[in-house]
């Protein structure tokens, strides 16, 4: 589904991503794991066509993220921790606005919003102004906005940050339901327990380098660990030792 070849990103003096190659299959939940500053958000922003890679390319369903950016965006939905909603608009107006941006017919948007109201349990307050929503309510609208156009790929970039237990649970359930609908979910997080509960495959980024990518059992086996957290610590430590020797 996603093919990344020799992709790197440099911001002036900072090499945010070193050249990396990665292949992500469709219809699964793919974990993108790493500490803060590991390069997860940069990689996701390149996939979301918001940043241009310095070298290499990325293809989503055969479409190049640089040259076919509008077509890529139609296949993609993004939820990230810092994303907000238009607070002077109601939740429904927020969704209708994005429906128009995605070129959806009004009747399609109405039908899809009704579906999402049931799926995300947002029906009770969707017509209130979003300025009065709690963090969890806003996040549900952000999620509804990201999947409104039925994207093939959903990018969740530390989307559970700041959410309470119930909202976090709802987000994880939603990721699982997307997988059940044969969509690819890329789940970026530094919370290993979430990744362990959700992901089929995962890649670990450390200081802008891809240090491992495999199925979850494969990663555990490679690192000789019992838990994903221990696996992460082992692989990161090994990477640092290698960098030190170099």
């Amino acid at each position: 589904m996603i093919e990344i070849t020799n992709l790197s990103k440099r911001f002036k003096q900072t090499q945010a991503l070193h050249p990396l190659n990665l292949s992500i299959p469709g219809g699964c939940i793919f974990g993108l794991l790493g500490q803060n500053g590991a390069g997860k958000t940069t990689l996701l922003r390149i996939l979301a066509t918001l940043l241009a890679p310095s070298t290499g390319d990325a293809r989503i369903g055969g479409l190049d993220v640089v040259h076919d950016s509008l077509a890529v965006r139609r296949k993609m939905g993004t939820v990230s921790a810092g994303m907000g909603v238009y607070e002077r608009l109601s939740g429904r107006e927020n969704l209708h606005f994005f429906g128009q941006l995605y070129g959806m017919q009004k009747s399609d948007v109405q039908a899809r919003v009704s579906e999402l109201m049931r799926e995300l349990a947002i029906g009770d307050w969707i017509d209130q102004r979003a300025g009065g929503y709690s963090t969890g309510m806003k996040q549900k609208i952000v999620i509804a906005r990201a999947v409104l156009h039925r994207p093939e790929v959903l990018l969740l970039d530390e989307a559970s940050n700041g959410l309470d237990v119930l909202a976090r649970r709802a987000l994880m359930d939603f990721a699982l339901s997307c997988k059940a609908q044969n969509r690819l979910v890329i789940y970026s997080t530094h919370v290993m327990s979430e990744a362990e509960a959700l992901c089929d495959h995962a890649a670990i980024l450390h200081l802008g380098r891809l240090i491992a990518s495999d199925s979850l059992p494969g990663l555990l086996e490679k690192s000789g660990a019992n838990t994903l957290e221990q696996c992460f610590i082992n692989l990161v430590s090994a990477s640092e030792r290698t960098a030190h020797v170099r």
Binding site: A52, R73, S80, M83, R88, L89, Q100, Y102, A146
Partner: protein, 411 residues
């Protein structure tokens, strides 16, 4: 780039921005009520305040120091209602004497009749206050009256009338529009520039900096729209509110005329006839504008609003916070005001040069339209230059919107 513009998406963005700003009560108050009511309220309050304050006011005479002796005739000519004199030993004393901005050094011999040797009064101005400047003017006028009086005495002795000294005179008569055209022609575009900037400001900030701060910009730019679509949609909204403010400002000027007429009649009764006539002339109540003139003014106002709103939007696209945006907007507005002020010189130079200057040309065209001077060529040049500058400013905004360093500033 423009081949890929998506009109439905541009309209969707514009409508969303308009709706969001319409729901911002404070922004709407600033964009509508202030331009509509500020001047009319001032026009109401000033005559009312004057009716209470003026009877209690007493004019303070300006004190002028004098070194030497003034002949009685000259003293009478100099000392009017606004000046009182103080005897000084030396003019230098005036510099240290409190509340004395002007001193006169009187020569030993003052001419007291035509034919006497000429002399010179030396005036020392020790401060740049308005009072000192007014005193200098009053003294010069007094000296002129004294000279005229000496001439009149001499002419009378020769059996001639003093009017014969000025065989040719001038008299100015105002046309139908009077000097009001100058005031309206210059003031109106200037006010429009300011109101358009104030009206567009809230929408510009809401559509750009606020979008970044609340975390919706990433979602917007992640949708299948181009950066040009985003900027143009926002520009339409900013111009919409800029125009609303401009129109409210125009209505405010009309209300001002009504309010001040009523307030002067009601509170300054004795002055009313003269004051109302002066105000009517000053505010151009007697101006008649043809349909073509109206269309010229309206179309020029539109292009003027568009360039002003693009000028306000650009720094907002670049700014990383509300504070930074407000910091950049002030000089942008000053640019517009400066360009409008430059139109004061338009009538002294080739009209093509001024008409081709963005904003400046519009002010000149609007001023001309008030006196019925309409030239298709200058109208075209003025509007084209405005639209060209708008396009350039929008292209720069789109360039900034495409810059990763700008989009993810601070994020």
């Amino acid at each position: 780039m423009f081949a890929s513009l998506q009109m439905p998406q541009i309209w969707a963005i514009a409508k969303k921005e308009i709706l969001a700003t319409l729901r911002d009560r404070r922004a709407m108050l600033t964009a509508t009520l202030i331009p509509l009511l500020l001047l009319p309220l001032l026009a109401l309050v000033m005559p009312i305040a004057a009716s209470f304050v003026m009877p209690a006011l007493k004019l303070d005479k300006t004190r002028v120091g004098i070194e030497g002796t003034l002949p009685e005739e000259l003293r009478k000519a100099l000392v009017g209602g606004l000046i009182s004199t103080i005897k000084l030993e030396m003019v230098a004393q005036a510099a240290t004497a409190k509340e004395m901005a002007v001193a006169i050094a009187v020569p030993r011999l003052i001419p007291q009749a035509i034919g006497d040797p000429p002399a010179e009064l030396v005036l020392f101005q020790h401060s740049s206050s308005k009072r000192a400047a007014a005193a200098i003017l009053a003294i010069e006028a007094g000296v002129s009256r004294y000279n005229e009086r000496l001439s009149a005495i001499k002419l009378s002795a020769l059996g001639l009338d003093k009017a014969q000294l000025k065989p040719l005179k001038t008299r100015t008569e105002f046309g139908k529009a009077g000097f009001a055209v100058n005031i309206i022609g210059t003031l109106l575009p200037l006010m429009l520039i300011i109101w358009c900037a104030i009206g567009g400001q809230a929408s510009a900030i809401e559509a750009t900096v606020a979008e970044r701060e609340r975390g919706t910009l990433e979602a917007l730019l992640g949708a299948p729209i181009t950066r040009a679509d985003a900027v143009l949609g926002k520009f339409i909204s900013v111009t919409f509110f800029g125009l609303i403010s401009g129109i409210c400002g125009l209505l405010g000027i009309a209300l001002t005329v009504l309010c001040s007429t009523w307030a002067i009649k009601s509170f300054l009764g004795a002055l009313s006839t003269k004051a109302i006539a002066a105000m009517s002339l000053a505010l151009g109540l007697n101006i008649e504008i043809s349909l073509l003139g109206g269309l010229v003014i309206f179309s020029t106002v539109l292009s003027l609003a568009s360039v002003m709103c693009a000028l306000v939007l650009l720094p907002c696209v670049f700014a990383r916070s509300y504070k930074e945006a407000q910091f950049y907007i002030a000089p942008s507005v000053m640019l517009g005001v400066g360009a409008a002020m430059a139109a004061n010189f338009a009538e002294f130079f080739s009209s093509a040069v001024f008409s081709s200057l963005p904003m400046t040309g519009s002010v000149a065209v609007i001023g001309d339209a008030f006196v019925g001077k309409i030239s298709g060529w200058t109208w075209l040049l003025a509007n084209f230059s405005n639209l060209a500058l708008t396009a350039v400013l929008l292209l720069i905004s789109i360039y900034f919107m495409c810059r990763e360093a700008v989009i993810f500033r601070g994020g």
